[in-house]
Symmetry: D2
């Protein structure tokens, strides 16, 4: 079985394993206050061009999302998001368990627009009964989105302008940030992204690490006491340096973008193969998550040799499936898949 | 200003005021353990034909909804409801503040269907990632709905069959229950309704009381320790007899249905007036909440003399507004409104 | 049975019933935006000498406590309180259900001291692991306390100074505020109290109303969007004027203090009776809640004719019980009780 | 600096690093459904002698505690625990953030007794106002305790009997389980422990792993849908095999107990050293956490060369500090510390 069902099917980059070996006997203080975490923070600040940013490490994406959002919101506020947003559909109500509603807007190609968000917030305050309705308190988007698509620089900048106009923070879920930045369809640099939102996180789990996400708080207003939130949301890893060591390796010598480019190259190879065989895509194919439309027969046939996700039954024997490439995807496996398509 | 903006613009039926006067010097135990509450419970059990039901009194509808739903759900479960359901749109995220997500389905004429609910639950368990998705744990509907519409006996019975098939309780929000039952479009008796769900509540606030809702738990599985939930959700009124006294009066000698019929008669009179003047309705006009479509000019013109709610801007200068009649609505005021239309 | 078990055994002052009768046919807007609520707010602002205060009406005390505290706290903060505080022991974990821990300090005579609170907060920040510990975010006290005792002006002023030193709000639960103010042992005026805390509430339920508490927000920092909190915590009474009308009557012509003085006079009469018969008290007897120590035999004997609460079994056949007088207590009943002691 | 401040100052056992290397290129399904997790589950079931147990892996201890407790409790229930229990004092209110109160009982030497728990539960239901009080819903203890002490077989068995009598589950936090079992003061086997509670967890983070805890559910009543809770509480690690691989190595060939015995040997060596130099202990010294009492001077003197935790200021220049040994502690470092004492 060759797996294309996700970007977390293998382990991590070998440099991380090497570093864990090298540092295993070191004695350090716990809870992310060790020198490795400190160094990883500096590497990230440098990479994003914001030395004033606070950087915190957490274990997983759902945890990062809820911790950030709950740290920002008041009890009566909710998170504006795409109806396809991860917080709305794939976190078993973790945000609601923290007391907050997802204010889901209809997505287009996995995205929500500045105009949509603006209208939604304007409508809220225009409603005579607005005190009876959850107040929009943060805007959540994913870059790339859960549909593998990208916000353009213009789209991001418009969204952020709307957020600033309404004095509401913009938070970017970057679980697959590297893959978004590495895409040939992307026109946003990391330095730009780090000036077009208030908080974002850099995905490690799906981009080279064993586990771990780096939360970056850019707006001073949201920095205070964040470590209390981390502890309350189970993110205060006792052996915190395990996170620091991983992010040191990911951000040493441009490794993070190097491995991201590999995943994208594999994705592009697969896109080309799919296109040449005449497959249509459910969402624009531009990163490492691809959503081709297959017949029932072809889907069944492939499933003997390849692992992938079933995404949507379009009816009439047509199915959307998801193929995902990653930092570990082998070219030969992509070619085997293309041959079988 | 003549108010048609809601069914809570006046006080209560005079019998309640009289009873409060008569009982004011009585000394009773608090927290709904007094003889008035006990008597009110018996009157309700008798009315619904279920002497085995547990009856609890609470102050308001949002409180009743959250208390019931949170008492039933496990942490990872949510409430299936219409996207127009009160819990989803007009309770400032009170259910989410209690930790639970609204699983909103698109409504038709304010309602959700048995087929929709069945498909939604089937889809949930068919999803390979269902553990990453909030599990449907209760089905919430309103009778009548927030759009003033009614479930037919067939619709209710089908919904309940789906719920029983999936072993998930059905909860009916009856904030305006009397108005629903009194409608000439209704084909469900209270005895039938009390056998087609697991829990429902009987609205007092909008139907003759100063305040108060009576929760009726029919399924033994949900009865245990409910008073702990009531206390935790602020419903344990110290002078609990205030609720008992009100429901005694509402359910003595058929008063509840008598006043409900008055509101419906006033609503029917207004429907007829609107129809004769050629107005269309946004939702089927069948209870005491009516949603005619007016021009901008007419809406402005009426607003000088009459209070009503703006519901929806349809564009092109057309607006949906809401008129509501109640147990206190005066015929002469309905006629003034019709004359002004 | 003559009841001394609580101050919510009867109805309300007759003026309230009269006013409810007089206003029953009025049509008003809902949700506390009516003229009665507005007038009641002005009467309260005038009484406390703070026209800048925000005044909100809620139905009950547990609700008022949780709504205020949750509106102030961030997710990782808790409420410093006496271990005997109502929020800690008699609200079925309502504050925890809203996500917040009670940080309970040992009480002395029902009270906590400025020194205790200061030390607790200092210790918190001195602890190297303070990010692993709930941060003190508000100080909650009751006036009078759950033990019927009073904070002196000096004690209150010291507590408030500590709160201001640590930039943490002081919230006073005034469920029985009138009885505290009316006590001959009290040296705090309402105007002073309204300058020695950030938020407090004025109890109506136990002091003359059928139900209702008036939250007073003095510090501008906590005023914003409070009505969203009210709705989320089920306090947005549809027929909101029911609260306004009651508080109008309570604060017209000094009624609130007049009826409070009656309860205290009855309490004093009972204290004198108890003292003359040689009974000891568990807590200082200074308001309308009295905690004498009785033998098992006397307790049993009294329970045939009088209702009271069992508070604590001291062992050796000695029991603390609670007698409570109220705005409705009859002198003849106090005398009957004294005779039976 | 030689660190004795915790048992999470180093990395992990070398076998884990080796296994991570060996498996890095494997492709597996995520979310703990891979063969390594399956194998680790079998090894644990065999070790504890309960093949019927459900075993789930989570990242950290606070997460394991809250997930287990919240999965068991209804909204109005709380967790009975020692006032020194980790959930009560060192989890930043994570349990309260999940809606549940800690019902803290005074500890003796870090422990609570069967008699205490029995009395507490009996008192709860005897209280006329018990519906106003959080209902005890689970009993939480730690083995060993946060004070480094052990429950004897008799104490555990008595506690479990009380829990069964009241039909309330017993949950054991085994963050340092191996160190407890390996102690020469311990008289409980793992097979016995796995029959004297309903749920427990096996600590990995502090006993040889990089991170990870294994939750063991013994009572069928608490098994259903537990993975939903895991996902909602952020425990559904994408590369779940990282947990499986670690626990495979810990439970292969008795490794877990072998390394635990090393930590205990180092602890015993340090206890002997401390005793010979005449130091007293704040709590019974019987596992790898030791709480000697030092003078201010000695404490300052040691802090130049050794890291340890300050635990309590006893006044009069006397301080309780905590030394912790672990699976990685070097004998030479213990000897250096003893020499410096």
């Amino acid at each position: 079985m060759i797996r294309f069902d996700s970007d977390y099917t293998e382990g991590c980059i070998p440099e991380i394993l090497q570093a864990l070996n090298n540092t295993n006997d070191e004695q350090t203080i716990g809870y992310m206050e060790d020198p490795h975490c400190a160094n990883a923070r500096r590497l990230i600040q440098k990479w994003i061009g914001r030395e004033d940013a606070d950087v915190h490490f957490m274990v997983g994406g759902t945890q990062a999302n809820v911790t950030v959002i709950a740290s920002v919101l008041k009890h009566y506020q909710g998170a504006v998001c795409a109806d396809s947003g991860h917080i709305n559909v794939h976190e078993t109500g973790a945000l609601e368990a923290a007391g907050h509603k997802c204010l889901a807007l209809p997505n287009s190609n996995g995205k929500i627009s500045a105009a949509q968000v603006d209208q939604f917030i304007v409508n809220h305050y225009n409603d005579a009964a607005h005190e009876h309705i959850v107040q929009p308190g943060i805007v959540y988007i994913s870059f790339p989105t859960e549909s593998g698509t990208l916000y353009s620089k213009k789209e991001l900048s418009d969204l952020y302008a709307v957020c600033q106009k309404h004095d509401i923070p913009l938070f970017i879920d970057g679980a697959r940030l590297g893959y978004g930045l590495a895409s040939s369809h992307n026109d946003v640099t990391i330095e730009e992204l780090a000036r077009m939102c208030d908080i974002f996180y850099i995905g490690g789990t799906k981009v080279g690490a064993m586990f771990g996400e780096a939360i970056v708080i850019l707006n001073d207003r949201y920095k205070k006491d964040f470590r209390y939130h981390i502890k309350q949301r189970f993110g205060m890893l006792a052996k915190g340096r395990m996170l620091g060591i991983q992010f040191e390796e990911l951000f040493r010598d441009g490794k993070y973008m190097e491995i991201s480019r590999h995943a994208i190259a594999m994705g592009d190879r697969l896109i080309k193969g799919l296109q040449e065989k005449g497959y249509e895509f459910r969402y624009t194919a531009e990163t490492n998550q691809l959503f081709p439309i297959l017949t029932e027969e072809k889907m069944q046939e492939l499933s003997g040799e390849f692992a992938f996700s079933h995404w949507e039954d379009l009816g009439g024997g047509r199915h959307v499936i998801r193929f995902v490439t990653s930092f570990m995807t082998k070219e030969e496996n992509v070619d085997k898949l293309i041959a079988a398509l």
